[in-house]
């Protein structure tokens, strides 16, 4: 890890001023569970690290008239122990508690989860976001067991567990820089990279993610995760669903797959299929099949198609039961 200066601003405007100045060549430090490792591996070499954990306005998890506000520096532990999240937003609760390590939950933040870098081993070994060597991606012909089935040209999978749940719930994300603030749909925050200038999220130079707002009464929702190991690993495939019901039938649905592509996959086909139907074993299974339509598995990850299908089915049945 290269040496860096450490800034400890108390306000958002101090922090964005530091990030705005090229002189500081700064990176945001939240829980550090990803940033510190990236710096140790020289994947990020900032001259200044800007700690945002002491900026009060960036913290907290609270329900208000506008819905659930999740501050950027709210930890996974705070989310996991929030009663509102557990009862009204089980899709978020399941995504957060799927990360079993108490240490990671105590340190990792919601903002950091959305802004974490891909875990693709080619990226982590210095081949860039597209894993290129000699003008070609190393992934299709390489070790791609954990890569995307909805990829190309980027084959990494979006590592964020919160992402799919937030998209299913119609959440919005607010970003601030020295000039002001902007708010984007969680669905639009994730952007599949076409080249090395972007990294999968719409976080512009100098910006800090300040908060996430999940609208109220978002509908019945759930997340179902499938993991290879119970602890210390990312899921292989997940599905987050949110259903608005009317008279026992689906009025509108959101079905979002996680960890199968460079961005969470919001399946319009599954949503269309579910509209007007009641949830039973058969419809849940067919919705799963619809969700994976168009998947392009690589040489070693065909199994993810089946996992994603099953994740959708089980998430829907969980909602059906609730």
């Amino acid at each position: 890890m290269d040496a860096f200066a450490y800034a400890n601003p108390a306000t958002l405007s101090e922090a964005t001023a530091l990030l705005a100045s090229s002189l500081y060549d700064a990176q945001v430090l939240a829980g550090g569970t990803d940033l510190i490792s990236l710096m140790k591996d020289y994947l990020l070499t900032p001259a200044t690290v800007v700690n945002i954990k002491n900026i009060k306005e960036l913290g907290g998890v609270a329900k208000g008239p506008g819905g659930l506000r999740i501050g950027a520096t709210a930890t996974f532990d705070e989310l996991a122990s929030s009663a509102v999240v557990k009862t009204e937003y089980p899709a978020i609760h399941a995504a957060v508690t799927g990360l079993t390590s108490p240490q990671l939950r105590n340190m990792g933040t919601a903002g950091g989860d959305l802004c974490q870098w891909p875990r693709c081993w080619y990226f982590r070994n210095g081949y860039g976001i597209l894993a290129m060597k000699d003008g070609k991606s190393l992934v299709p012909g390489g070790e791609n067991k954990y890569h995307g089935i909805f990829g190309g040209p980027a084959y990494f999978v979006s590592p964020s567990s919160l992402g799919p749940a937030l998209i299913a719930l119609g959440a919005k994300v607010t970003l601030a820089n020295a000039a002001g603030k902007r708010t984007v749909d969680a669905a639009k925050f994730f952007v599949a990279p076409k080249d090395e200038t972007t990294r999968g999220i719409d976080l512009q130079a100098g910006e800090i993610l300040t908060e996430i707002v999940v609208p109220p009464a978002a509908g019945k929702n759930a997340t179902y995760e499938i993991r290879e190991r119970e602890a210390m690993d990312w899921p292989l495939a997940t599905a987050s669903v949110c259903l608005k019901m009317s008279g026992g039938k689906v009025a509108s649905a959101k079905v979002v797959l996680g960890h199968v592509g460079p961005v969470p996959v919001d399946s319009a086909k599954a949503a269309e299929f579910l509209a007007g139907k009641s949830i039973d074993e058969a419809t849940a299974e067919q919705a799963g099949a619809a969700a994976v339509e168009g998947a392009k598995p690589l040489s070693q990850n065909g199994y993810k198609v089946q996992l994603a299908k099953v994740a959708v089915k089980r998430a829907l049945l969980a909602v059906g039961k609730a």
Binding site: A3, D41, L43, L44, T45, Q103, R199, E230
Partner: protein, 220 residues
């Protein structure tokens, strides 16, 4: 690999660490404002100093840091990049927390910060100021092992022992928050620690025994 920079945030374009760069320049301004000479850079330096003061910038050289460890205030001089783990082990002679993966993926370095288990390899020492830090060294009292340590011995809960200090601290913290766990809860609650030797069965038994000796364990 070293030249790969964050494409979304880096705006300087210089290769870090090689020859002159704004980055190297900033090193000079960081804490010791008097060190500046080059006239051409005066304006940037002045701008930097204004932000430095308001936003509390320190480093990149060594800075004095006070850490509260096992109830004692300890003064140490570290660079901002120093992790809490390296500071404990290399500067404060507290070597119970182990450096294994050094990437927040194994738990061997677990310490308790403000009542919560964290990976010391992934916390900056400078960031740990003002927090109550508890390490394995602080668990035993009057020369007697902590009930969790004792339970690890009683249940043969280690082989090579490298993961053990981290597991003991994680178990202690888990029981502080869950005094009456079921075995399944123990399994989940220790999900932040890995043991390559596979001593999990012994560790789970030890956790349940310790829960009882500590006055809980009602669901075990």
């Amino acid at each position: 690999m070293k030249d790969l920079k964050d494409p979304t945030q880096s705006t300087t374009g210089e290769t870090p660490g090689k020859g002159f760069s704004r980055r190297g320049f900033l090193r000079g301004v960081g804490v010791s404002s008097g060190a500046l000479t080059a006239g051409v850079l005066q304006n940037e330096a002045e701008a930097a100093e204004t932000v430095n003061e308001s936003a509390n910038v320190s480093g990149p050289g060594e800075v004095p840091v006070t850490l509260t460890i096992n109830g004692k205030a300890m003064k140490v001089s570290v660079e901002p990049r120093a992790t809490l783990l390296d500071t404990l082990r290399n500067k404060l002679d507290l070597t119970a927390a182990k450096r294994v993966c050094d990437r927040g993926t194994c738990g061997a370095c677990t310490v308790i910060m403000n009542g919560k288990a964290v990976y010391a390899c992934t916390v900056l020492a400078i960031d740990a100021q003002g927090k109550q830090i508890q390490t394995l060294e602080g668990l035993s009292a009057n020369g007697k092992p902590h009930p969790v340590s004792q339970a690890f011995v009683n249940n043969d809960a280690q082989q090579c022992g490298y993961c053990t200090p981290g597991f003991v601290v994680a178990t202690k913290n888990f029981l502080d928050h869950n005094p009456n766990p079921t075995e399944e809860q123990v399994k989940q609650g220790l999900g932040g620690n890995l043991c390559r030797c596979g001593t999990y069965m012994g560790i789970r038994k030890a956790a349940l025994e310790a829960a009882k000796t500590m006055g809980g364990g009602k669901n075990a």
